[in-house]
Amino acid sequence: MWKTILRRVLIMIPELIILSILVFLLAKAMPGDPFTGSINPRADPAQIHHLMAIHGLYDPWYQQYWNWVAHLFHGDLGMSYEYQEPVVDLIQQRGANTLWLALFTMVLTYGIGLPLGMYAAHHEGKLQDTLVRVYTYVTMSIPFFVVLVIGIWIFGYALNWFPTSGSVSAQASGLGGTVLSRLDHIILPGLLGALFGTVNIVQYLRSEVIDAKHSDYVRTARSKGVPMKDIYRHHIFRNSLLPIAAFAGYSITGLLGGSIFTEMVFSYPGMGLLFLNAINFRDYTVITALVLLYGFLNLLGTLLSDIVLSIVDPRVRVE
């Protein structure tokens, strides 16, 4: 199994190099420059040229790329033109916000999705199953941002149960107060995100469990005289969780990237919102850093999925 993991990690190196070059070139190819919009429109174009030159933006691309990579290895992703802060600091702040929201959403998603999927499959074809399926179809057919807007309107404004924006209240004081306030801010977006995330898991798991239920190896287990509840425990659950476990790797990193919709609607200062603003402001350094990070997270996600799979599924292991 270590061999499998080592091989997968080694494959990641060239993937990362190619990714970084592509990311860098794509960012360069975007129209506009970081200065035109941010200084006095009547300013002398010569001044902009001067700024561009200082920042090395006239150098050939490979030289710029090389500078960027050299700095990257020193943990320096450059300064954000827009925020005038080191990109690393920006990502750290925003990343922490996103991490809390992501973890909370993840726990809720799996906490609701797994039992619900099992429950539906267990009652296959019955009323309970139909209700769960209606829930999944309805949720799937409403666009996510509509759910978010309706959710924020009902629970944020009409009922006034939860704050509608930000990640922590300015009035919060002390460690306990801060934690509570943070929690207060992620409950609603987390719940709504989970409402959506569960749909995939429920449908996936439901069909997996039903498949397993009718599989030949379950019939074999029954012919051994194993009671059905033990068959669920020893055979059906583990086998059905396989694709979910593989999927979990992706979804963790997906959530860490931040949900642009959720963060937009809730004005939640996370990675998604940072990314969106960076694009709007042509904040190259931030864009390249974020795209690279997302790419890296994706690679990490597939790696994680492969590792999880190789642990739970003996067929995947390299002998």
Partner: protein, 343 residues
């Protein structure tokens, strides 16, 4: 374990199994009567969809009670299996009746080690501890002809060949020395050389355990090689039943004769293979009365068939359904030669 009397210990009386299709029940097995004795291999033969596997899963109690309706009586060592609840059945399955399935590729859990899959049956039916169970696993693997039992025990199904997996399934079925083994097409998924080995293993085990075996197959060659008695099934009914030699040497029912005749024969090289006309009717289209095989031998006049075909004992417990066998002939009048040489 060894019972000296040779009496039947399984007797199936008037068993019908009906499946629910669009809210209505249709018989897949209808009014089957069968007996199995210790130390004997009873083969149930018939083409796909004739109800032979359904009969097997009925005996094992593997049908969803909401989707099936089962009637009749399955008397097994003094208890009527059909009256057992799930809990009671679980004490029989695996312990007293072992089942071998058709497809060794999918009948094992891909995520569990061979050892765990064999041990599982002992966990539920014996008081053996882990160590004793392991010893028994190794013993069983030896018995079914696995060369390196210790190694195989720790492997996963995907690391084994089809033949080896089928041996594992046999090992599971016999782990608790059941009195009855139901083998549902145990060799269908295997190539011919492996088939012969598996059949040998089955025969050896039967001799050692004095078990009765129900061997379900559509392969007449397998039947000829292994069975003591044969029941031929067509469209959910048994149409002929007798000893292997009665069935192969003096087949009576038109269906049995047609089946034997559609087997390739070495000494009849110039003959075209016989093809039975038409198809087995689907469950919904099954005629309510009359001989179910009649539509496939249309040249036999309707008057030759019984209105409600019964089983007739034509001597020495050789049973044939319907009296039409007396008037049956093959349409082209070619001399009936198939089957006689197959033993």
């Amino acid at each position: 374990m060894v019972e000296t009397n040779n009496d039947q210990f399984l007797s199936i009386k008037n068993v019908s199994t009906a499946f629910k299709i669009n809210g209505q029940f249709y018989d897949a097995v209808s009014n089957v009567n069968l007996e199995v004795k210790h130390d004997e291999i009873l083969a149930i033969v018939g083409e796909s969809g004739c109800g032979k596997s359904t009969l097997a899963t009925t005996i094992m109690g593997l049908h969803d009670p909401e989707e099936t309706k089962i009637s009749g009586e399955i008397d097994f060592e003094g208890t009527d299996l059909l009256k057992l609840d799930e809990q009671g059945y679980n004490k029989v399955r695996g312990a007293k009746i072992g089942m071998i399935f058709q497809d060794p590729l999918s009948a094992l859990n891909p995520l569990k080690r061979i050892e765990d899959q064999i041990q599982e049956v002992m966990v539920y039916h014996t008081k053996m501890n882990e160590k004793q169970r392991h010893a028994r696993v190794i013993e069983l693997l030896n018995q079914v002809g696995i060369e390196d039992p210790e190694r195989t025990a720790h492997q996963f199904p995907h690391q084994l060949s089809g033949g080896m997996r089928q041996r594992i399934i046999i090992a599971i079925a016999i782990a608790c020395k059941p009195d009855l083994i139901i083998a549902d097409e145990p060799t269908t998924a295997l190539d011919v050389t492996i088939q012969a080995q598996i059949l040998d293993v089955l025969r050896d085990i039967q001799r050692e355990n004095h078990a009765g075996i129900i061997l379900i197959t559509h392969d007449l060659g397998v039947v000829a090689e292994t069975a003591d008695r044969v029941a031929v099934m067509y469209a959910g009914q048994i149409v002929e039943q007798g000893t292997a030699s009665q069935i192969f040497n003096e087949p009576k029912h038109p269906y049995t004769r047609s089946l034997l005749r559609s087997m390739p024969q070495r000494d009849n090289e110039n003959d075209e293979l016989y093809v039975i006309q038409g198809m087995v009717p689907s469950l919904q289209k099954m005629p309510k009365a009359g001989d179910r095989f009649a539509p496939r031998i249309p040249w036999i006049p309707a008057s030759a068939h019984e209105a409600q075909p019964k089983m007739h004992d034509i001597g020495d417990n050789h049973l044939v359904r319907c009296t039409c066998y007396k008037d049956f002939y093959f349409p082209d009048q070619v001399k009936e030669g198939a089957g006689h040489e197959s033993n």
